[in-house]
Amino acid sequence: MEKELLELLEKVCEDSIVKEDLDVELFESDLLDSLGFAELLAEIELTFGVFISPSEIERSEINTPNKIIAMIKARS
């Protein structure tokens, strides 16, 4: 699952740094914006069947690759 998610994240962020540094801050370092965030949530739902509502979470809860992995694990 982790590998698949990191592939997804690389595609959405268009940068391979997200695979190397799993604690990189995604919003502050301009890797994710509103568009990328929505795309990521849709991809997570399509690939893992895990639905995360865009208004449900604070961005600070999902701002690094590690936090996203943890959230999907907790919900699947």
Binding site: F37, A42, E56
Partner: protein, 384 residues
């Protein structure tokens, strides 16, 4: 009497806030008291026009029934899209009827605050559909919807964020600090609205009399500053009052005139509105596009998303040509910004240099001011 206007309002406000501060100081829950004040203000302010008060009561009962009914059916039938769409339309219907007034000249559901209350109700329906809201307590719902500081013009709070503050009783020290912050916000808000906005309004009126091009340009800028100080002042007073009642309503403005591009501007101007649209319109539009594979490229999808998003925002302001044009204008600007920043090598190379940032800021401010000029209705007036 109107919200945050005139001596009478502030006099009543001070008298009613003093017991709240005393209760906060003794670490008592403010739930019941702040609901009581909300009802007092609703009665005082709406009773000068009984039809408005009647509409508000009717609207409240209607929306509560819609939300409670949908929650019941959502639990029974799960994430059913058809049901969701029906209830979403029902929730928005009163606002649509109200906004149609400009076209059909019949006033239905025309009462102060309906535009802002609709945001609160729509988000509840969407979050019930998402499974994020699982229960609806009537007293809390009423406290959230009728919370008087934000009733007429926002900032737009979220029900779950509101809930966290609503159930929490602050420790004395924390409450006093929050209360002091609140009073400071109210005072700055008064300076913004009563002094600065009033000054710019005067200049605006002065420049409006002349139809020469330089006066029209001057008018556009004065209107922009007037709009900011008037609305930011109002928002500060609303947020400050909320703080004193233990609710940390989110801020609405963050130095919009230093924005480095249009995207940045919408993170600084009327933030609670633009973030509401981001979370409940834009994100969901993009997610639907992805699932249904409507567009081939990211940029097409993003551009379309921005334009749809801002057009709906324009419609929400009112169904007049100026507001609709204002929405499309900002939608197109956001789309162009996205395309430019993703495609331009020049942008990628120089985006961190000082000169580039300065030029980018300068252009942004001119575009923003032109947007306000459309918003003011004067552009279309002059073209006619």
């Amino acid at each position: 009497m109107n919200f945050f206007e005139g001596y009478a309002f502030f006099l009543v406000l001070i008298v009613l806030l003093i017991p709240a501060i005393i209760m906060g100081y003794f670490e008592k829950s403010l739930k019941l008291y702040s609901f009581g004040i909300s009802i007092v203000f609703v009665i005082i302010i709406f009773s000068k026009n009984w039809i408005q008060l009647l509409y508000l009561i009717l609207y409240f009962i209607l929306q509560l029934s819609i939300a409670a009914g949908y929650l019941y059916l959502r639990k029974k039938y799960g994430r059913n899209q058809k049901l969701y769409h029906i209830f979403l339309i029902l929730t928005i219907l009163p606002l649509v009827l109200c906004k149609l007034e400009t076209l059909i000249h019949i006033n239905i559901f025309g009462f102060v605050g309906i535009s802002y209350l609709t945001f609160k109700n729509v988000q509840i329906i969407i979050e019930i559909y998402d499974g994020v809201i699982k229960e609806l307590a009537v007293f809390e719902y009423a406290s959230f919807i009728l919370f008087f500081p934000t009733l007429s013009s926002g900032p737009i709070d979220r029900s779950r964020r509101f809930h966290d503050d609503w159930v929490r009783v602050c420790k004395r020290e924390e409450y006093l600090k929050q209360c002091a912050d609140g009073i400071q916000k109210i005072l700055v808000g008064i300076i913004y609205k009563v002094i600065l906005a009033a000054c710019f309004f005067r200049l605006m009126e002065f420049l409006m009399a002349d139809k020469s091009w330089y006066c029209i340009i001057g008018y556009a800028y004065m209107y922009g500053f007037y709009l900011f100080f008037d609305f930011a002042g109002y928002s500060l007073m609303a947020v400050g009052t909320s703080y004193i009642l233990g609710i940390r309503t989110p801020d609405n403005f963050k130095f919009p005139f230093i924005s480095k591009d249009i995207t940045d501007f919408w993170n600084r101007w009327h933030i609670s509105l633009s973030h509401w649209f981001r979370d409940f319109v834009f994100s969901r539009f993009i997610m639907t596009c992805m699932k249904k594979k409507w567009f081939n490229t990211r940029l097409q999808k993003a551009s379309f998303g921005f334009i749809v998003n801002m057009f709906i925002m324009g419609m929400w302001h009112g169904l007049t040509p100026s507001y609709l044009l204002y929405g499309i204008y900002h939608g197109v600007l956001l789309a162009l910004t996205e395309i430019y920043q993703k495609k331009s090598k020049f942008h990628m190379k120089y985006k961190n240099s000082k000169g580039y940032k300065f030029v980018s800021w300068f252009i942004t401010i001119q575009l923003v001011m032109f947007g306000f000029f459309i918003f003011s209705g004067r552009l279309l007036e002059i073209i006619k």
